[in-house]
């Protein structure tokens, strides 16, 4: 992944831009797109420092400085949503990171090609299930009355179990483990590909030296994919604060809010939901706080990554 100078022995001379006008024409639409739909919202962040009024527009509204940020930092919601975001994210990484590695190592040891193919096809499949359907399946199967969980518990204990989705603690478990279920197969692809590049002569040499299969996994396979593992882990760390809105919002209910209100859902709640008061400026300030932390994390993590493994995003 390191930047290589592909054109070895060739000096890249920048051409006269006038000769390349056709190439710039190709860039016209993408540039307009990126400026309108990506940079204009970034410009729109100024309303975090204003008291946005629809009538006055983004530029006409009055400046209030850091008032919105201070209001957020001082509100009781601040620590709650920050804590929930970090806990949910760290829990997700801690659980969902090792599974694909383990699975890749195991399936790499499988010698029956047909078995390999069939299992891989099956475990990759849930990756294509939409968030809504995913959450719908969890809710249906674990419903304490009508779902498999309810009837199973009823037939064992003779009474109906409690509603699993009413507990804030369970929210996190369901969120994380359903993500593992959905993605471990897909996430393992990158490791299985790295494993397929292991030089077979290493395995042969180790075998001659009397290494068992497990020893070969530990001393040959694992070191080969270690750089990939480290890179993936570092990149994953950089996105600690970017937990998406979609799944959390669907899994939220009034009973688990104390664990399920994270920054992105809170932004929606304050700015756009029917119950919120449509406070655009305040919501933007909260969102911007999150974006800035994200940005700093990505930059820092990338610096570390460059030092540690000589791989980086850019």
């Amino acid at each position: 992944m390191k930047k290589k100078n592909v054109s070895v022995g060739r000096v890249i001379t920048k051409r006269d831009p006038r000769k390349d006008w056709r190439l710039y024409m190709f860039l016209l639409v993408p540039l307009i797109y990126i400026i309108v739909f990506k940079y204009m919202p970034i410009g729109g962040l100024v309303i975090a420092f204003k008291e946005y009024k629809v009538r006055k527009g983004i530029w006409g509204s009055d400046w209030v400085g850091f008032e919105n940020f201070i209001k957020f930092f001082e509100s009781y919601q601040f620590w709650r949503v920050l804590k929930n975001t970090v806990i949910l994210s760290v829990y997700t990484i801690a659980i969902s990171f090792p599974f694909p590695v383990m699975f890749a190592l195991m399936i790499n040891s499988v010698r029956n090609e047909k078995f390999k193919k069939v299992t891989q096809t099956i475990v990759n499949m849930p990756h294509f299930i939409s968030t809504i359907v995913m959450v719908g399946i969890v809710f249906s199967v674990f419903n304490s009355r009508t779902g498999l969980y309810g009837s199973l518990m009823h037939s064992i204990t003779g009474s109906w179990p409690e509603d699993l989705f009413a507990s804030p603690a369970n929210f996190r478990h369901f969120y994380v483990w359903s993500a593992v279920w959905q993605n471990f197969g897909w996430d393992s692809i990158i490791y299985t590909a790295a494993l397929s590049s292991v030089d077979p002569s290493y395995h042969e040499a180790a075998e001659i030296d009397g290494a068992s299969r497990l020893q070969r996994v530990i001393h040959v396979d694992l070191p080969t994919i270690l750089p990939t593992i480290i890179t993936m882990l570092i990149l994953r760390m950089g996105s600690v604060m970017t937990i998406g809105f979609e799944k959390v919002y669907l899994m939220q209910n009034s009973l688990n809010l104390s664990a399920s209100e994270i920054i992105s859902t809170y932004v929606y709640q304050v700015g756009l939901s029917a119950q919120g008061n449509g406070n655009f400026s305040y919501a933007t300030a909260i969102g911007m706080f999150n974006s800035v932390i994200n940005f700093v994390l990505v930059v820092v993590v990338n610096k570390i990554s460059k030092k540690v493994s000589e791989t980086s995003l850019w």
């Binding site: 993408p30 970034i42 729109g44 040891s109 010698r111 911007m288």
Partner: protein
């Protein structure tokens, strides 16, 4: 020495046994909920709620499907989703290719600066509210454009595409064509497009799946239910009846047939909305995997 090989052999056998069982168990864990959902959708509603269905359909019955197919919104949702998927993917491909082609030229003046402009947006964004205000100000709120334009290109996919062009289409080819009098536009249509077919297929699949599954922008930007994609109706069906169960609280098992059938209807709707993707998926998964690999090698 012989003893050693024997021990080693036994160890290996144990190791392989663990691998095969581990892989099998994980596969079954993935497969089981899927089978359960499909089986339940074809079963008698009362028996599903009573927990009589645990693997295969029991007392096969299509009442819930019939009810679902009579639900008009399902069809308008389906039609809308197909429209958003097709139109969205076409827009995505055009914009992505138009961007990746010049960015793959190493000697284009200003290339690094323009590249920075694109990749910066992967790390920092305006977020939910400013984008919402923008969509509103552009006057595309509550129109089909609101689902197509804001996501016209993914920078990540553009980089994947650029990398593909850089590594698969040698510069000598460009030079040769230029000597033959081919300009940059002709080169794009005659050389880049035909030679990029594999990556175009991968990108088309990625974009199409993301359009098919997305609900977020429709949820934020659409008010008019005749424009809703399938996923929003799914949300209504899957989560509305959950709320009914929640508020009723103490519904006893088998209380009323209508509730039971609505439970099974949820399974049906999951099957109906996901089936198209699942049917195509085994045939195209190779391409998806290839895409993951191209994406992991950055130029």
């Amino acid at each position: 020495m012989k003893n050693n090989t024997k021990i080693k052999h036994n160890q290996d056998r144990l190791y392989y046994a663990i691998c095969y069982t581990g892989v099998s168990i994980l596969t079954l864990i993935v497969l089981y909920p899927v089978i359960y959902v499909v089986s339940s959708s074809f079963s008698n509603a009362d028996l599903v709620v009573q927990g009589k269905v645990w693997l295969w359909p029991v007392d096969i019955n299509l009442d819930a499907y019939e009810m679902l197919f009579n639900y008009k919104n399902l069809w308008s949702g389906y039609a809308n989703t197909i429209f958003y998927t097709v139109a969205g993917t076409v827009i995505n491909l055009v914009v992505t290719l138009c961007c990746a082609y010049p960015m793959a030229r190493k000697n284009l003046r200003g290339r690094n600066q323009i590249m920075f402009l694109f990749s910066f947006t992967m790390m920092f964004s305006g977020g939910m509210i400013p984008t919402y205000i923008l969509v509103k100000n552009l006057g595309i709120m509550n129109t089909r454009w609101a689902l197509l334009l804001p996501s016209a290109m993914s920078v990540y996919n553009m980089i994947v595409c650029r990398t593909f062009i850089q590594t698969n289409i040698p510069e000598e080819m460009l030079e040769a064509s230029q000597i033959d009098g081919c300009n940059d536009t002709q080169f794009f249509f005659r050389m880049i497009l035909p030679l990029s077919k594999p990556i175009i297929a991968v990108l088309a699949l990625w974009y199409a799946v993301s359009h098919w599954n997305s609900y977020f922008s429709a949820f934020l930007y659409l008010k008019d239910s005749s424009l809703y994609p399938l996923q929003l109706f799914l949300r209504e069906i899957l989560f509305a009846s959950k709320r009914i169960v929640e508020t009723d609280g103490m519904i006893e098992a088998g209380a009323s047939i209508s509730t039971n059938i609505s439970v099974v209807m949820q399974y049906c709707v999951i099957v109906v909305s996901t089936a198209p993707l699942m049917c195509i998926y085994p045939f195209v998964q190779k391409h998806f995997q290839k895409g993951v690999m191209v994406g992991s090698v950055k130029g």
